[in-house]
Symmetry: D2
Subunit: 384 residues, 4 copies
């Protein structure tokens, strides 16, 4: 019988987007029960949100500090906390729960500043608790398979990695209209120094490294603020150099009309190529050199064990964003349970991005900003 | 605060496919809590399955009869039951729970025989309980929008309805290998007289009527058993005539290599057309006559209120089969809650297929089989 | 050195659509030189058209009878004539040139009536001249390859043949506006008894038989005239039974908004399937059962000799409708040259549809009309 | 009556690829007659090639110098010459025919070196003859329309231009196998200093400028020679900055498995976006911001006059690479005829790339190479 973990949440009160996504992800595979929360800095909203979510009043907290202390002290305290606040409010709660020995699931990007990220890495290393970062696109079955195919040599030596993540929702100055998402995501005080690069560029970067198995060593970046008066970058064009000699491009944009959430990865090696797009996640194009292209369907013919592990239903029954997100929760549940049960976790569940992936993202952002500030000269992306 | 309904389940023990789907669907939007079950006719398997699902031992029942009686008698008895057994085991439990005044969610097709279906309709009409049938494809946001667009005249008068549902999993004689799904679905004793037609043809038929708003009046059907020795049809070609003068075709197949779950609908009217395919459910092609085709994205530009009602996350973040399935659960929860709370339900939640849709499917199957037996002459599909 | 054949043309004067297509097709591979014509029944228009096409004035004829006689008598008379008049004007000129021993390329459908078609077949059999019918879709490289793959057993035994040809240009009553194409194609006196069925249904039928290698034995058809007041069918839904046990559907429509020229074929056998669509003719989906689908590109990896024979440029450089049309001209040139040179033609050039394919189309139309008139009962399609 | 121009050809003897393409392009619209040639530097091959092409023996020349002189002196001398030799053999014949007052159609890239290109520009400016460069992708109807839409403000102010051109035919060291195309295209002595960049990068660059109406001002380029031992670049990643503030990326590759001839352009402005891919050239995605994406079909609804000008047949009947190539020939014929007839040419025919486009391509290549040599720092692309 699979254990249900007791879950708490920081942030995610009424009206929040990503908090609701985390809750669905936690519920989907029935491995978590939401029992505590510090859902909002506004006490009334925190209470109302907790009630809506069937959280007992005494476990609806005014702030994460009190929550960490109280939950740590309870016999039935939470096993794990999800942190779903804006970027500038990741570090402090993550730190508090890690220090309290409570496992952490943190939304990305890891932190607001590189300094915080480095400090958090240290805290994670010192803690007995596990740390997961929701680079959720790594939960897609075919992304898992792509990674596995590259690792197993199916593409030969990797030469090029083309990744892009295009949206259009910030094509106009939406932040001036009072739209909340736009407001905080374009505000350096809450988002950090990277706008589009931090919000979605880090996803693209993470995906490129996750699948290619290569580490990007340097970046030449050209960031733009196309919308007049915008405080942060809304488009970035980058060249990348990976270890082992692979090279690539990364484009991220929030001002590309006609693109909703167009994350797309293409990897080419000496023997073949792979192409995958997040908006059609149930299929992947595999092009062994000199043979007709093949379309691999999640859970269909040609799907691997790695894809199967992250699938719930047969091929032709599309799974989507929520299922991929849930996969991180499901895999992380196994990691936690294994620890609780003093056993080794299922190796297939170890692919959840953690503190290192988070720090990589921060280092990537920092390097991209530095490069762009120096007119797109190459900047190293520090290894750790 | 949205009420969580107490849910029971009949069938769906370890190893079952559709039971697991129903449970995810019930969990996804947090409107149900699974608290009771008669999960298997094998007592040990029933107990083990219940334990896995965190169902208390005293609410794991040996059979649905006992379950209906016991749950009806409890203060905290279930509000609603999901019936996820093979077709021949729909009627009796559905009847028992309806008679006990407990709301019913039943998998499709409605019953094993037309006689049972008619009897069940009568039972449903007499019961105080509500009845939902999981023609789950009607839960897709863009299917809802398609229906709305047709109803609102966006296509003009409907002329043609082209629907097809193609799979390939029965291309070989899989039922001889011991595969459970194949075994019962090709067995007249468990599936009924219609094979492919009952299993997926009814979905296609339901979708065609749901979206077009037209009632099919007659059918000319040519059924095949392509796999030697197969006991039921595995492919069917049909002509249909709808009220109001529309005409159409329906193709369903389980022996079409390269098709996983290819349900596809196209509707054409005097002013425009619509095309939607289940395997890419987040987009729909809308072709107003004389204008460039438009691609409508679930929750994106051009998405209607009906699509928005059935969406959870923004456009570009794909939703899939499980979300569509969950939509029926979510809408049905609202119907039940409204009744419990003596108020009118949200009208947007009234599109869940019910007993009438179930009976329509049975009448369609019966007419198709009769037509095919008479060498594809037209047979009427009785209205009710 | 490849011989250039002397070509004449009947019909195809200024403003004609298909005449211009034939001329491009004839020019493309440099195997024909247009030197004579009876381009219009209007003498002034005939003269002007001839001048535009660089035809010498003495070889611009007032009518096809004079042309056949004069050209037959010239030392440098035409080798071959293209007949590109409306349907009711195919028989007489085809007959005249066949009788004159001049090779004939005739647009489809073969004739205006079945009687004419039978008579023309007899004339063709008696003539020393060759006869080609421009069922131009058979000239596509991947259609050729599809046929070859089926013939060579790549799909196993054929079970289902799904074919459709949808357009939308007659969605409104265009024939009332004076549009010439619409006027003659919806006029029984010029088109024959079949409207949509004759115009495009015959193409679909021809393609289905060409690729599947199966002969359709009977048809159950439901024809409609959706546009009020239209004199001929504008939509048809059909069931088909092929020799060897295969079954299929055929849909043709000229009133399906959003469809330009959507000819699409799908063939499924015991071992795999093939899918091809005319609007994206440079790729074909091949789905061996139990393996990932493959995309075969014209002239790319996986393209066969048959596809290569009908290609001019490398994969990725799209060829289209005109090239496919030209392929029939190119292959027919080889047939004619072989005859002139008293040698066997290249076997790859023998796939040009001829008089038999033309008669098949007429028999198909006749059977479909008869079936529809009898409320869609099965009607045999006579073998020859 | 449209005049047929007398055409000569330099290069393009037996076995050549691009020469055959030029000849089909010249024939397609019947505006040219091939009457003279210096088809090969090998006299026997030149003679045999001429005979095959029905060129009179006395107009088959041993070299272009003799040809230019002789044709200039004939009453019926050629109006125009097509130069289809490898890159290092463009300059001298182009120069010779320009100096002889004979119009020139030259394959791209313009020359072997920037110096030659500048000299040729001077020669073209001094000549009475016209000069066309076959950046053939500008002949596609929807490329013409895209340019027009951008120019007319349909996208607002242009912000991003994403262009790529990927192939895979040089994934392995094909030049070592004796394959002719690979041999000269990877040989600096015949191709010039740019490999992939010169061969296809210039096409991508030309397309980006042609459609966007923006002039690229600087480039940061990272060129690779992925195949060991290759003498020229086979992959390039670039950042671009355009006048008016637009920015973009350019990727070209000949080592990306699964890509045949994947030229793809995306342009985004303040009000909308456009996406077009050469392998599916008959449709273009137009995404006005805040509205559902539209698919514009060549010659269909939404197609503009510019697209119509470059179309021959209705929408749904695909045109391809050869038709686009032919469009340059057709438009150039009008330019030449207008000059011969002392009238203004049809303005729609003035979009044929000329000497300036050729020089732009050379300057782009030079700047990209210089940038890459300096580790991808920005290099200006000189304006003229």
């Amino acid at each position: 019988m699979a254990r249900r973990l007791r879950l708490g949440m920081v942030g995610g009160g009424q009206g929040a987007f990503i908090g609701a996504v985390h809750r669905i992800a936690a519920r989907l595979d029935d491995r978590y029960e939401l029992v505590a929360g510090a859902l909002s800095s506004d006490p009334a909203r925190a209470r109302a949100s907790a009630a809506e979510l069937h959280i007992a009043p005494d476990r609806s907290y005014a702030d994460f500090t009190g929550m960490a202390a109280a939950e740590r002290g309870r016999e039935d305290g939470i096993d794990v906390v999800a942190i779903v606040t804006p970027n500038h409010l990741h570090y402090a709660p993550a730190r508090a729960f890690l220090d309290a020995g409570i496992h952490v699931i943190c939304d990305k990007p890891l932190c607001h500043t590189l300094e915080d990220a480095i400090a958090l890495q240290r805290a994670a290393h010192s803690s007995t608790a596990l740390f997961a970062l929701t680079h959720n696109y790594t939960g897609y079955p075919l992304v898992r398979q792509a990674r596995e195919m590259v690792r197993d040599g199916g593409l030969g030596d990797i030469r090029m990695v083309q990744v892009e993540y295009a949206q259009d929702w910030l094509t106009t100055k939406l932040e001036d209209t009072g739209q909340k998402q736009a407001a905080w995501r374009t505000d350096p005080a809450r988002s950090g120094a990277a706008g589009c690069v931090g919000d979605i560029g880090t996803h693209a970067f993470n995906l490129a490294e996750f699948v290619s198995g290569r580490r990007a060593e340097s970046v030449a970046a050209d960031l733009s603020r196309f919308v007049p008066g915008r405080a942060l970058d809304d488009n970035a064009h980058m060249l990348l150099r990976y270890d082992g000699g692979a090279r690539g491009m990364l484009w991220c944009s929030q001002v590309a009309p006609g693109n909703d959430n167009a994350l797309r990865l293409r990897v080419y090696g000496t023997n073949g190529g792979l192409e995958w797009a997040q908006e059609q996640p149930n299929e992947m194009r595999f092009t062994p050199f000199g043979e007709p292209p093949r379309t691999i369907h999640r859970a269909g013919s040609g799907a691997s064990a790695a894809a199967g592990h992250a699938s719930r239903i047969p091929s032709g029954h599309p799974e989507g964003y929520l299922e991929a997100f849930a996969q991180l929760y499901r895999d992380f549940a196994e990691q936690i349970c294994a620890r609780l049960e003093h056993r080794a976790p299922d190796p297939a569940c170890l692919l959840v991005p953690g503190i290192e992936a988070g720090l990589r993202g921060m280092r990537f952002s920092a390097a991209a900003l530095a490069s762009s500030a120096a007119d797109a000269v190459w900047r190293p992306i520090q290894a750790r």
